[in-house]
C-alpha cells in the first residue's frame, strides 16, 4: 500500500464503502460523490498502522458495531478496520504523529545517527506550498526520540508535529542525515503508527 497516494486511497475507500453496501451519504453538489475524509493524509512511500477516516451515513440509527466487519469482508488482508465510533474530535485537533523508521543496515549507521542527533542543531530544508524553500532547525520539533538496534538493524522512533498548522515529515530528518554525514545509503522504511492530539493522546 505504500505506493498508493492519498488521492488514490480516497478513491479506493469510496469503492470499498460501496462494495460493503454501507448507506453512505453523497454530497449534494453538481457532481455528487460519497463523503469520505482522512484525518491526516499519508505521504507516498509510508506505511501506516493507525489511520482515521471519517464517513457520513444517511441512516442515523445504523448499527455502528457491524461496520468494521462489513468493510473488512470486502478489503484485502493488508487493510484492516479495527474500530468504528461516532466522531469525537475534529480533524483540526490533530497535532502530532508518531513514526517508526527502520534502516536495513546491519546497525552500521546506529552510532553515526546517534552522533548526528547530538548536534546543537540540525537544519533541514522544506519546500513550502508556495514553492519556496524554508530552512529550520528540526531538533526542537522532535519528541519521544528513541534509537536502538532491533533484529540487527537500526530502528528509530519519534514523534513530530502533524496536521494543518505545523507538519514535519520524518523524511526531512533522514534526507538531512544522508546529506550532512556522507553515510553510505541503506534502504529504510517509514511506518506511521499513531496520530495524536495536542496532549499527545491518540486522536480519534
Amino acid at each position: 500500500m505504500k505506493f498508493v497516494s492519498h488521492l488514490d486511497m480516497n478513491r479506493f475507500m469510496i469503492r470499498t464503502v460501496r462494495k460493503a453496501k454501507l448507506p453512505i451519504w453523497y454530497t449534494e453538489g453538481f457532481n455528487p460523490h460519497p463523503y469520505i475524509t482522512f484525518a491526516l493524509p499519508l505521504s507516498l512511500g509510508f506505511q501506516s498502522s493507525y489511520e482515521i477516516m471519517d464517513i457520513r451515513l444517511t441512516d442515523d440509527n445504523y448499527d455502528i458495531n457491524g461496520i468494521c466487519e462489513k468493510l473488512n469482508a470486502v478489503c484485502p488482508e493488508y487493510i484492516e478496520f479495527f474500530d468504528a465510533c461516532e466522531p469525537i474530535l475534529k480533524t483540526r485537533a490533530v497535532a502530532f504523529a508518531h513514526y517508526n523508521i527502520t534502516f536495513d543496515d546491519n546497525k552500521k549507521i546506529l552510532s553515526l545517527f546517534l552522533e548526528f542527533l547530538n548536534k546543537e542543531s540540525i537544519t533541514v530544508s522544506k519546500k513550502t506550498k508556495k514553492g519556496d524553500i524554508k530552512q529550520f532547525d528540526i531538533l526542537p520539533k522532535i519528541k519521544d526520540l528513541d534509537i536502538k538496534e532491533k533484529n540487527g538493524n537500526t530502528h528509530l522512533s519519534l514523534t513530530l508535529p502533524a496536521g494543518s498548522t505545523d507538519n514535519v515529515n520524518p523524511e526531512l530528518l533522514i534526507t538531512a542525515f544522508y546529506e550532512q554525514t556522507n553515510t553510505d545509503y541503506y534502504c529504510y522504511s517509514v511506518e506511521r503508527d499513531l496520530i495524536l492530539d495536542e496532549n499527545l493522546k491518540p486522536f480519534r
Binding site: 505506493f3 498508493v4 497516494s5 488514490d8 469503492r15 460501496r18
Partner: protein, 614 residues
C-alpha cells in the same frame, strides 16, 4: 534485486503504482503449483493497458485454469526504464515480480502500430534475444494477438505465434499443446509446426516471402504442409463466451477508470475507412439478460460507480431500449452511472437521450467523419446532414450546449470542397443552436471539431489507396483553419508525423522489421506519445536500412498486387473489398448488414448477423 531495494527505487520515479502490483482482484498463485506461466504484456503504459477490455478478459480466463498463472506486464515509462537499465532490473511481471524471461509464454496485445517499438523494447528489457530465430529454447514462446495481427508482418521476425481474431479458444489450445510438448520433450520448431495446425494460429516463420524488384511482394509460400491461408478465429455464441465477473481495480487513476460491459462484437455498418468494421465481422450480440447479469457482477466485485457499455456502435444493439430500461432499474438504485460511447447519429432517439439523462450528463460526441454528403457516401457513412442537424437540435433542446464532432481528412477522392464542408457543417450546428427559441439563456454553444488524418488500413476497401503526404495534410489543416469563421467552433487536429508513421506500419511488410530494430536502438519508444515521438530518428532509421517509407504510406496498390497480408483470411474477401472500393469511387453506398447482406464473405463463420431473420 531485493524487494526492498526495488521499492526504494520505485519511490524515485513518477507514479510508482504503475509497477507495484498488489491491486484488488489481482491474482496471486503458487508458482510451484502451476504448469504454465504467462506474461500478458501490454506495450504501453499501465494506465492505458489497464483500461483495455481484451486484457481483462484473457487475464481472468487464463487464471480460471488452475494450471496457468497469467500475470500482467506494461511498458515502463521512460523514467523507470532508465532506473531499470542502470540497476540491471529485468522486465518483471506485476504479480510475482519475477523476471518474465523465465516464463513459458510472453504474450503481447497489438492494439496500434505505434506501440511496435515498445514491443521490441520490452523484449530487450526482458533480456531476451529480439529475433524469434535467435531464441532456440521452447520457452519462452513469444505470442501476439489483437487487431494489428491482421497485418503484423513488421513484427514477424520477433514473434513466434500470432493469434488471428478472438483468442479465447485458440490461446488455450496453444497452451495445452505447449504443455504436452513440455511434458514429452520436443523442439521449438516441432511445437510451432504443430501449433500452426490450430485454427486462428499464424506462425510467421513457416512462410517464405519473396519480393519483386520494385519492392512489392512476389509470393508468399507456406513451408511443408503449413496451411496456405490462415483463418481468424471467432467466438460464435457470446452468451456462452467467458466474461470475467471481476476486474483488477487499480489504485492509481487509469484512462478508463470504470467497469466495462461488452454488448456485442463486430459492426453492421461497413464504413469503408474502418478496419474494426471489417476485421471483427460478423456482428454477434449478447442477450440483454447476459448483459445485465454480467454488468451487475462487475459492479459488485469492483465497487465502481460507473459502467460503460462497450461495442463499436452501441445504438445498433437490437434491443437497446429494453436493455437500458432493465439496466437503469438497478444502476440508479446503486448510484452507478451509465455511459454509452459510440452512439450513431441516425438512430439516436429522443427516448434514448431521455434515458441517458437519468444519469451523469457528459458531453455529446458524434462522428460524421466527412464534411460533405458526397464524401460521406464515398466512405459509406450512411448519415445525412439533416440527421446530424436534427440530432443536435434534439440534444440542444435537452439542455446540451456542447457538441463534439469527429472528422477525418485525407479520405480518398477528397477535395478542398469537402474540407470546407467540415467548417460549413460546424457553422450550421452553431446556427441551429441560435435559431432555437428554447435555447438556455445566457449560455453559449460550443462546437468542437476534431480532425484526424485518415490512415488506409488492411482489410478495408481503402487498403489500395495512397495516404496523402505530410505536406498535403498540413496544407489541408491550414485551409480548414481559414474556413472557420465562428469563435464558437474549436478546431483540434492531429499531428501529421505520427499519422505518417502509422500509415507506413499499417500496410508494412517484413522488411520493416530491420527498421524497427534500428529505430529502437536510436531510442524510439512510445511513438504514440507526442512527448516521445521523434520523426527525425525514424527517418534516419529508414535511410540506414535503405527503405523508403513513402513506398508503404503514399503508394497506390493495384488490385493485382499481392498484399503482405494476402495469406490471412478474415472472412471478408478481397473481391468484396475491391467491389466496395469501386462503389466508393462512384459515391454509391452499401446498406448495413441488417438491411441487406452485401456478401462480404463473413458468413463463412456460420453465425451472427448473417443468419438473423430479416
Amino acid at each position: 534485486m531485493g524487494d526492498k531495494r526495488l521499492e526504494q527505487l520505485l519511490l524515485t520515479v513518477q507514479k510508482p503504482g504503475r509497477y507495484s502490483g498488489g491491486e484488488i482482484n489481482s491474482v496471486i498463485k503458487d508458482k510451484s503449483a502451476v504448469d504454465v506461466r504467462f506474461a500478458f504484456c501490454f506495450p504501453d503504459t499501465y494506465e492505458v493497458g489497464m483500461s483495455h477490455l481484451g486484457m481483462k478478459i484473457l487475464y481472468s480466463l487464463f487464471n480460471e485454469r488452475e494450471d496457468i498463472w497469467c500475470e500482467r506486464v506494461f511498458a515502463p515509462w521512460i523514467d523507470f526504464e532508465k532506473v531499470m537499465r542502470e540497476n540491471n532490473i529485468p522486465l518483471f511481471a506485476l504479480e510475482s515480480r519475477d523476471s518474465i524471461k523465465d516464463f513459458d509464454f510472453i504474450g503481447f496485445t497489438l492494439q496500434y502500430e505505434l506501440s511496435y517499438t515498445n514491443v521490441i523494447n520490452m523484449l530487450d528489457l526482458a533480456k531476451l534475444p529480439l529475433k524469434a530465430s535467435e531464441r532456440h529454447s521452447i520457452s519462452p514462446i513469444v505470442v501476439a494477438g489483437g487487431p494489428c495481427t491482421c497485418n503484423a508482418e513488421p513484427l514477424a521476425d520477433f514473434v513466434d505465434i500470432f493469434f488471428l481474431g478472438e483468442g479465447e479458444q485458440s490461446d488455450l489450445e496453444v497452451i495445452d499443446l505447449y504443455k504436452k510438448f513440455k511434458a514429452n520433450g520436443g523442439t521449438k520448431e516441432q511445437f510451432l509446426y504443430e501449433a500452426s495446425k490450430i485454427e486462428g494460429v499464424y506462425v510467421p516463420s513457416l512462410y517464405d516471402i519473396s519480393y519483386n524488384i520494385d519492392g512489392t511482394v512476389k509470393s508468399i509460400t507456406a513451408k511443408g504442409d503449413a496451411p496456405k491461408t490462415i483463418r481468424k478465429r471467432i467466438e460464435t455464441d457470446l452468451d456462452n463466451t467467458y466474461y470475467p465477473d471481476k476486474f483488477v481495480v487499480p489504485y492509481i487513476e487509469i484512462v478508463h477508470d470504470r467497469a466495462v460491459q461488452e454488448i456485442f462484437r463486430g459492426c453492421i455498418r461497413g464504413c469503408r475507412f474502418c478496419q474494426a468494421g471489417y476485421i471483427y465481422r460478423p456482428v454477434r450480440e449478447k442477450s440483454a439478460d447476459t448483459v445485465n447479469r454480467q454488468a451487475k457482477a462487475i459492479c459488485e466485485s469492483t465497487g465502481y460507480d460507473e459502467i460503460s457499455l462497450s461495442s463499436l456502435s452501441t445504438s445498433d444493439y437490437t434491443e437497446i431500449e429494453p436493455m437500458l430500461e432493465e439496466m437503469l432499474s438497478w444502476t440508479e438504485k446503486q448510484g452507478v452511472s451509465l455511459s454509452l460511447p459510440s452512439l450513431r447519429i441516425d438512430n439516436f432517439s429522443p427516448e434514448l437521450l431521455q434515458k441517458i439523462n437519468h444519469v451523469k450528463k457528459s458531453g455529446l460526441t458524434f462522428a460524421p467523419e466527412a464534411g460533405t454528403q458526397r464524401l460521406r457516401d464515398v466512405i459509406n457513412k450512411n448519415i445525412t446532414e439533416e440527421e446530424i442537424l436534427n440530432t443536435c437540435k434534439t440534444a440542444f433542446e435537452g439542455g446540451y450546449t456542447a457538441v463534439k464532432l469527429y472528422f477525418m481528412m485525407g479520405l480518398p477522392t477528397e477535395t478542398d470542397e469537402d474540407i470546407k464542408g467540415i467548417a460549413d457543417l460546424a457553422q450550421k450546428i452553431v446556427d441551429t443552436y441560435y435559431a432555437l427559441p428554447s435555447k438556455p439563456k445566457g449560455k453559449a454553444v460550443n462546437v468542437s471539431i476534431s480532425v484526424s488524418n485518415f490512415v488506409p488500413k488492411p482489410f478495408t476497401p481503402f487498403q489500395f489507396h495512397p495516404q496523402i503526404t505530410r505536406e498535403e495534410i498540413i496544407r489541408k489543416q491550414q485551409y480548414l483553419k481559414e474556413c472557420i469563421k465562428s469563435r464558437k467552433i474549436t478546431f483540434n487536429y492531429h499531428e501529421n508525423k505520427t499519422s505518417f508513421l502509422e500509415g507506413v506500419f499499417a500496410r508494412g511488410d517484413r522488411k520493416l522489421g530491420e527498421v524497427l530494430v534500428s529505430a529502437f536502438k536510436k531510442g524510439c519508444r512510445f511513438d504514440g506519445w507526442d512527448e516521445c515521438f521523434d520523426l527525425e530518428k525514424w527517418l534516419c532509421a529508414f535511410s540506414e536500412c535503405g527503405i523508403n517509407p513513402e513506398f508503404y504510406a503514399n503508394r497506390e496498390r493495384s488490385y493485382e498486387e499481392i498484399l503482405p497480408w494476402e495469406h490471412l483470411d478474415y472472412g471478408v474477401t478481397k473481391k468484396f473489398l475491391i467491389c466496395q472500393n469501386e462503389l466508393a469511387k462512384k459515391g454509391e453506398t452499401t446498406p448495413n448488414c441488417r438491411q441487406k447482406c452485401a456478401s462480404c464473405g463473413a458468413n463463412i463463420f456460420g453465425k451472427g448477423v448473417c443468419f438473423e431473420k430479416r
